[in-house]
């Protein structure tokens, strides 16, 4: 009975989250396309900024949570921490992909180039590679019981690396300067633009939370299935003997 109640409350809260997310996304869309002013030099294309930048912030946040969950897993060995790490890996990868797709589509019409190897873009690409390698590792580990631990180690090494990567490319670029695109996020933003940007980020955070929770539900179901499988093979063995 308590179980049924728990499942019902989870489904209910997830539905609430979905409603809030959808509503917030609609509000954000209105702000992005109708409320935010047209940028002086860049024109309409600049509106990509309102999905590109918050997606990047969310991707880095996802990796940070992934790191925290990995540390928690190595410390406490809770399957919940491992599930959270995996969920952040998948959802973070999705957000990071969005960043890398929307970025060049904004850069090309505005600055004339699809890409440049400056500190911010290169670090974002490295982050994407870190997500990819994390997810690949999880699916290629031979013994599934080891996947969680190995993935946690890899995540921790990667997270420590990210600031070092960013700094080293910054220094490198001061020696070999290249065109910088989107000079500084905060440079010259109107108040209404800030509002749009932050509201968009809120919407994306809700989407992030929703997707992570869905992925966690999937993991929980997977655990249920594994437990049931064990029960099945136990009964099958008993029948053979009996």
């Amino acid at each position: 009975m308590a179980d049924r109640l728990k499942i019902m409350t989870q489904k209910f809260s997830q539905s609430i989250l979905l409603i809030i997310t959808t509503a917030w996304l609609l509000v954000a869309t209105y702000l992005i396309f109708l409320y935010a002013p047209q940028e002086m030099t860049m024109g309409e294309v600049q509106r990509i900024f309102y999905i590109h930048v918050p997606a990047a912030w969310t991707a880095f946040l996802a990796y940070f949570i992934l790191f925290g969950a990995s540390v928690a897993y190595l410390w406490k060995r809770s399957p919940g921490a491992d599930a959270l790490a995996q969920a952040c890996g998948e959802v973070g990868f999705t957000f990071c992909t969005v960043v890398l797709v929307t970025g060049p589509l904004w850069a090309k019409p505005v600055w004339g180039i699809w890409w440049t190897w400056d500190a911010r873009l290169t670090s974002t690409f490295v982050l994407w590679l870190l997500f990819v390698s994390y997810l690949m590792l999880r699916s290629y580990v031979l013994n599934p019981g080891r996947a969680a631990t190995l993935a946690a180690v890899v995540a921790i090494m990667g997270f420590v690396d990210v600031p070092i990567v960013y700094m080293s490319i910054r220094w490198w670029r001061t020696q070999h300067p290249q065109p910088v695109i989107a000079g500084g996020e905060g440079s010259g933003l109107d108040a209404s633009m800030w509002v749009t940007l932050l509201v968009s980020w809120g919407a994306l955070l809700c989407l992030y939370a929703f997707l992570v929770r869905e992925r966690l539900a999937l993991a929980a179901r997977q655990r249920e299935l594994s437990a049931l499988r064990r029960e099945w093979s136990a009964t099958a063995a008993k029948e053979e003997r009996g």
């Binding site: 990509i48 797709v101 929307t102 999937l218 179901r221 299935l225």
Partner: protein, 49 residues
């Protein structure tokens, strides 16, 4: 006079989120099927024994 890059960027972004959400629901469905099937088999073997 709509900007192609703008449309493309937002469409692709939503496509990415959509594909992921859809893959989640598909995996969820498959798991649910396996779970139900296994539960049925367990029940039938339990009643037979």
């Amino acid at each position: 006079m709509v900007n192609h890059y703008l449309v493309g960027a937002f469409s692709l972004a939503w496509l990415a989120f959509g594909v992921y959400a859809w893959s989640l629901s598909r995996r969820q469905e498959r798991l649910k099927q396996e779970l139900d099937e296994l539960k049925k088999r367990l029940e039938s073997s339990g009643s037979a024994a």
